[in-house]
Amino acid sequence: MYQVLVDIPVHIPVREVYRYMGYPASYQTIPPALNSMVEEEIAAALPLILPKATYATCEYDAENHRAIILPAVKTLPLEGAIIQNHLHACKKVTLFTCTISATIEPIIDAHFKNGEFTRAMILDAIGSTAVEYAADTLNQYVHAAAYRQNYRLITRFSPGYGDWDLSIQHDLVEAAGGLAIGIQVTESELLIPRKSVSGVIGWIPAGTVQEKVQTSPCLICKVHNCNNPICKGGQIL
């Protein structure tokens, strides 16, 4: 059975906003006009961002690569060599969804229509930052739960990464309880609202040599020209 989290704090790390807009980690000076626009947009966005998350932790059958979902005793097969390898030492998995809701989307669109291109871009970056922060927060909740049970977590993984096909989105979102917080999956397997994520967090028993086996997301990511300063189009430093 899934859990719903609605009291996720909102936080927008400014550096991350700049990173999503293409500034490298080493940037020094931001034009003052841009800086004030970013500050204004963050202030305007804060009351609109409503982070919510759902998650369901279940047993993981590593041999057959499937999550076993209670109480209906359904299974969710996880297809793809990379995701299977990533989870190979896991005994449990947490399926999750997370969103900041769609409230900022019409504003981004309106900014573009009005020729406020920079503000549109800033607000989009704020949305990306906020949903990532919400997912990080969820990760911490799950981490605490895992720790109490003497498990450790490995990096979270989302459909679309590596060879984990997006076609799992419907089943994943349903199993994780995403519908309860208004997340829908389109026919082409995209999430609505746009600033939403879904995925899996693997649990491994504490003390195993495999602890924190990290499949580097940058090595298997399909995004080219990404803004992550540590990622060089698949080359992790």
């Binding site: 871009m121 086996v213 020209n225």
Partner: protein, 795 residues
């Protein structure tokens, strides 16, 4: 023969990749490569032997990820000592005296502030533990390699030098803009590491030999130490989820001559290289001799991101003097309370006002000065990348400042008293700092220039005895107050001249001391600044916010021919926002329009269009002579890495405002358009940010854009292309699931035989995919889309 002695003799060949070889031997992703030192030593020894057989004179131990920080991710942190010790032992037995053993230290994977939260001392301890194991096991040298952060490299270098007598190599990784992950350029990296005592400096990984050649050239231009280069076997490519390096051994080795000609003396390989690469490299290197014509040392100081050269023939620089609590009660309280908010503000604002370096003085009575210095240095270097001047005579505060400063500092100052010399010179030597020599010795004030010269000589001699050569010394001209000792004020000018001509060292001066007690200090200060610069002052310690000082400084650089073409003068005086009247006199309206667009000031841009129209300038001239060149300026800045996408968008907004203003002012004049482009995010996809950015750019660069929005069917796109007689159709898709819809659009267009070019882009779209679905053009980002759209219509 020791490694360093061998290095004197000629080129030294290092081995190639360890990780690549281990992967070939079946190492799986997620396994700890260093654990093999304990579980399968023969495998590691055989790799070393293969490299030696291929001609490597140095083998690198399998300890790259042997730091406790890295081992912790495998739960192996308690095995750190054994793994590192064994790594050296295996290499030694494999080398059997035929090769040197370089113990490898790699990054911890953790970042220090401002990027991360790891403390310098923690990182130091992690490396120290590895170094102790290396020393005990008998390594010949240590190689700190693939470092991505200068401060972490410094921590590693100090850990080696403070815990072992071993020679040490520092090899750093640079990105395609020739910066480390945390923003340091090759010149800065080499300057700082040479100062701190690295025996060999260079670069590895970072792409293939082509990418590293310019890096090595830059390092060689400033560094007198031997240089190492260990490129990858070309750029990494991602094929079927695996990283592949494709450069063949022969091609790889063919880069040896240019790398050696650029100054490299140690050659090896990084990711993707194998014994076959090293064998080819050996054969090529055997035909070469290292170049002997290396630079003599120059006086320099450096911050995290840039280096300042100071010399008797070079342009003077400004040191901002404002972070000094003397006579500033608020700043003193800010430092005493530990808040340091004013310190932070002063750091940022002085650099914005033109300071090339910042003086840091936290000498508030009754506080722990060393702790305050550490806090101030950490705070300031997180805000600005310029060199810092550590202003204290307290040895503990000085050493703390030098240790935690990510750069090569200037020490302000060391005077000619025997105790100061004996206490402070060894600290300066250890950290490779540049010294500001203060010609005072505790007896009478040296009033005459000749007396100051004598004391300066004494400091230079003592420094030479401590192993510090005169390239690491700048002498203070000693500024006396004209209000109190008017007859000696000019002695500073004479002293500065003597230091430059007789001692051959550059001079510094805290210029504003001259005006204490007199009215309108700014007049005296700026006049004195001009006089001292003419006499040869190279380091002006001043208040950079003072407009008179700034203007005098800029003007003096023009008049002494340091500011070639007066470029710096013109750009700064312009950027200082002269009154509109002055501006109108010096620049044409189109020049001002172009400038305002680049700055992204849309209201100003719209207003200037009206002004241009009132001067009877037609729309074609406004567009061709101001708006288009402005967008080209910002595009160029983007490609050079001087501006980022939001700044390009701000400029696009300013152009939009200018066009709107133009349409209003001259409704009858046609605004010419390059062509028509249909834009759409394809069916099934709802992520249209990238498409919108492309649309904004194209629209404000003279294209007619018909934006169909997101989730658009192939039929709608084709119908729009016909209706609008489009020249180009631009398609975007974010996800792999929606990407195939692009092929559908192209199929439908080709079936209708439309003479329209198709451009595609999106996060997961590649050139290969564009070729596969027969798109005409692939654009990797918004500016690329703009450039390619122009090519398509002007073809």
């Amino acid at each position: 023969m020791s490694f360093l002695a061998a290095l004197e003799e000629g080129i030294i060949i290092f081995d190639g990749a360890m990780g690549t070889m281990l992967q070939k031997s079946g190492l799986r992703a997620g396994e700890c490569p260093e654990l093999l030192n304990l579980t399968n030593p023969d495998l590691i020894a055989n790799i070393h032997r293969e490299y030696i057989a291929a001609g490597a004179q140095v083998v690198t131990t399998n300890t790259f990820g042997g730091s406790s920080a890295k081992l912790k991710t495998y739960g192996l942190e308690n095995k750190g000592y054994d793994i590192n010790y064994q790594g050296v032992t295996i290499a030694k037995s494999a080398a059997a005296g035929k090769a040197y053993v370089a113990a490898s230290l790699g990054p911890t994977g953790k970042l220090m502030p401002p990027m991360g939260d790891m403390h310098f001392d923690e990182v130091y301890k992690i490396f120290q533990a590895q170094v102790l194991a290396f020393k005990a096991a008998g390594a010949d040298l240590v190689i700190i390699e693939t470092m991505v952060d200068l401060q972490e490299t410094r921590a590693a270098l100090l850990a080696v030098k403070e815990n072992s007598p071993l020679p040490v190599i520092c090899s750093v990784t640079f990105d395609e803009r020739m910066r480390t992950l945390t923003g340091s350029d090759p010149i800065t990296v080499a300057t700082v590491l040479e100062g701190l005592g690295a025996d060999v400096i260079g670069a590895n990984c970072s792409g293939g030999p082509t990418q590293l050649l310019p890096v090595i050239e830059q390092i060689a231009a400033v560094c007198a130490k031997p240089i190492i280069v260990q490129p990858n076997a070309g750029l990494p490519e991602l094929i079927d989820g695996e990283t592949v390096f494709r450069l063949s051994p022969d091609v790889f080795a063919s880069y040896a001559p240019p790398l050696v000609a650029a100054g490299a003396r140690c050659l090896g390989g990084c990711c993707g290289t194998t014994p076959i690469h090293i064998s080819a490299l050996r054969q090529e290197a055997d035909k070469l001799s290292p170049i002997s014509d290396r630079p003599t040392t120059v006086t320099s100081i450096a911050g995290r991101t840039n280096t300042l050269f100071i010399g008797t023939t070079l342009s003077p620089v400004i040191v901002g003097e404002r972070i000094n609590p003397t006579g500033r009660a608020k700043l003193a309280e800010d430092i005493r309370s530990g808040q340091m908010e004013l310190v932070r503000q002063e750091a940022v604002s002085q650099v914005q006002s033109g300071a090339d370096a910042l003086d840091i003085n936290v000498g508030v009575p009754g506080i722990n000065e060393a702790a305050a210095m550490q806090q101030a240095i950490s705070l300031v270097q997180a805000q600005v990348g310029v060199p810092l001047v550590i202003d204290t005579t307290n040895p503990e505060a000085l050493e703390t400042g030098l240790r935690y400063f990510c750069g090569k500092a200037l020490i302000n100052s060391i005077n000619a008293e025997d105790t100061a010399l004996s206490q402070l010179l060894p600290i300066a030597k250890k950290y490779g700092a540049t010294i500001l020599a203060l010609p005072l010795d505790g007896s009478d004030l040296p009033l005459k220039a000749e007396d100051r010269y004598t004391l300066a000589e004494k400091i230079l001699k003592a420094a030479a005895m401590a192993g510090i050569d005169k390239h690491s010394i700048i002498v203070d001209g000693l500024c006396l107050t004209a209000g109190a000792q008017q007859e000696y004020a000019f002695e500073s000018v004479k002293a500065i001249q003597m230091f430059a001509t007789k001692l051959g060292v550059p001079a510094a001066l805290g210029v504003s001391n001259v005006s204490f007690g007199l009215p309108r200090r700014d007049i005296l200060n700026s006049t004195f600044l001009a006089m001292t610069i003419a006499a040869g002052l190279k380091v002006a310690i001043i208040n950079p916010h003072d407009p008179r000082m700034k203007e005098t400084f800029l003007a003096a650089k023009v008049l002494m021919n340091y500011d070639q073409g007066s470029k710096n003068y013109i750009s700064h005086i312009k950027a200082d926002a002269p009154s509109p009247l002055e501006e109108a006199e010096t620049l044409t309206v189109l020049q001002r329009l172009r400038h305002k667009v680049v700055q992204g000031e849309k209201t100003a841009a719209a207003g200037l269009v009206i002004e241009a129209v009132s001067q009877q300038i037609n729309s074609l001239a406004i567009i061709n002579e101001a708006l288009i060149p402005a967008m080209e300026d910002i595009g160029t800045a983007y490609f050079k890495g001087e501006a980022y996408l939001p700044q390009v968008m701000m400029a696009a907004e300013a152009v939009r405002a200018a066009f709107q203003s133009l349409k209003k002012a001259l409704p009858d004049q046609d605004i010419p358009q390059f062509g028509t482009i249909i834009l759409a995010t394809v069916k099934g996809d709802i992520h249209d940010l990238g498409k919108n950015i492309v649309g904004a750019l194209l629209e404000n660069n003279g294209f007619k854009v018909v934006d169909l929005g997101k989730d658009v069917s192939a039929e709608t796109i084709v119908a729009a292309a016909i209706e609008h007689k489009a020249d180009i159709v631009g398609l975007s898709a974010l996800m792999t699931t929606t990407m195939p819809e692009m092929a559908e659009v192209i199929k439908l267009m080709r079936a209708r035989d439309l003479p329209v070019k198709v451009m595609i882009g999106g996060a997961v779209v590649t050139q290969e995919y564009a070729d596969l679905i027969k798109a005409d053009v692939y654009a990797k980002d918004a500016l690329d889309a703009l450039a390619k759209a122009k090519q398509l219509v002007f073809r």
